[in-house]
Amino acid sequence: MENLISLWHSTGLYNFTGGQAFMMLVGFLLLYLAIKKGFEPLLLLPIGFGAILSNIPVAGIAEEGGLLYYLYFGIKLGIFPLLIFMGVGAMTDFGPMLANPKTLLLGAAAQFGIFASLLGALALNAVPGLEFSLKDAAAIGIIGGADGPTAIYVASKLSPDLLGAIAVAAYSYMALVPLIQPPIMRALTTEDERKIEMQQMRAVSKTEKIVFPLMLLLLSILLLPSATPLIGMFALGNLMNTCGVVERLSQTAQNELINIVTIFLGLSVGSKLSADAFLQLQTLGILGLGAVAFAIGTASGVIMAKIMNKFSDTPINPLIGAAGVSAVPMAARVANKLGLESNPHNFLLMHAMGPNVAGVIGSAVAAGVLLSLIK
């Protein structure tokens, strides 16, 4: 009898708190979005599952002695996001960007979303019950970078309590890029602008592709050392791929290693989706600001492209500016799709890949600024 009572007291039903139940629903919602809606499933499925596991009463899977507690060290020490960044680097082709380097400026302009939402977060302090420190605001702003590992890396350094909400917002909005961007892009461009065809790009030699990651790293070392963990690992992955002499390392970095780390990273991020941290007014603020960041980033990119089109001697279709937010390769595909709608012969995909990968560099630079100036 005593045993039965002890058993009943050890059930989840007996121990559930409302917060845990709610967070579990959030976890199931993420699984639904990942599986049925195809929202960045590689990340949101493990994140959602991690959210469920870490909110199970009694089991303590995210507490000392539990699996997610130990996996989380990979984020806490900054290891997982950097390894993922290395793999992403190995998968990235800088060819289109090197063929048309001025599209880098589009990747710069789109980072305005980061700083605008940082300001927005600070402004939200006016709302009673909301309190964001400068670190919190910076970690929220980085959602506008539209780059998962960068957002997770910055949040883990500046505002680990908000990590769960920030990662979820970042990946969710990246998945929503095909919904968020088009209205903004249409509103800011004329039909004629969207019809602009761009010149075919020159071929980029293998040597240029090998030198570029080293040059990128060097510039980052000279100007902004705080960005070198991110940019360095990205450059390492890219160099492993382009140099052609360490093919087996490159393949492992962009396949098995990134897959293993993705599973661990997702589960660990999910373990930060605890009721305590997530069920706050803050989270609504983060979700709202994330959407704002994406919207402003998109708009900044498009406007910058319109300005550049004015002064450039070769035509620039303003739609590719939207790809500057990164969200590789989704944002580039969106630009391509809108281009085709206005002009069925207008394939913008490769042209949009330039600003797209430039956006990754841009947000790593922005991350470096935030990590360096906010103490």
Partner: protein, 78 residues
């Protein structure tokens, strides 16, 4: 609060400034690098990358082997 906002605004100017500075310098650096490379290390443009060439390679070999064998057989039978 006002102080925090002014820190934020300062951060925005510094941040966007550095982002543009960095990427602008990168534009120049790329242009310089590309012209140097094209001048001193001219190269045939790279053929499309084939990261997973092994399988297709296998398939190719299989194809070739199969053709040879089939034709051989065909001739023998004739």
């Amino acid at each position: 609060m006002a102080e925090l906002m002014s820190s934020g605004i300062e951060l925005m100017f510094a941040g966007m400034g550095i982002v543009f500075l960095f990427l602008t310098m990168l534009v120049f650096a790329i242009n310089l690098m590309s012209s140097l490379v094209q001048r001193f290390f001219p190269e045939a443009p790279p053929t499309p990358a084939t990261p997973h060439s092994a399988p297709s390679n296998i398939a190719d070999k299989a194809t070739v082997a199969a053709i040879i064998a089939a034709v051989h057989q065909y001739r023998q039978k004739k």
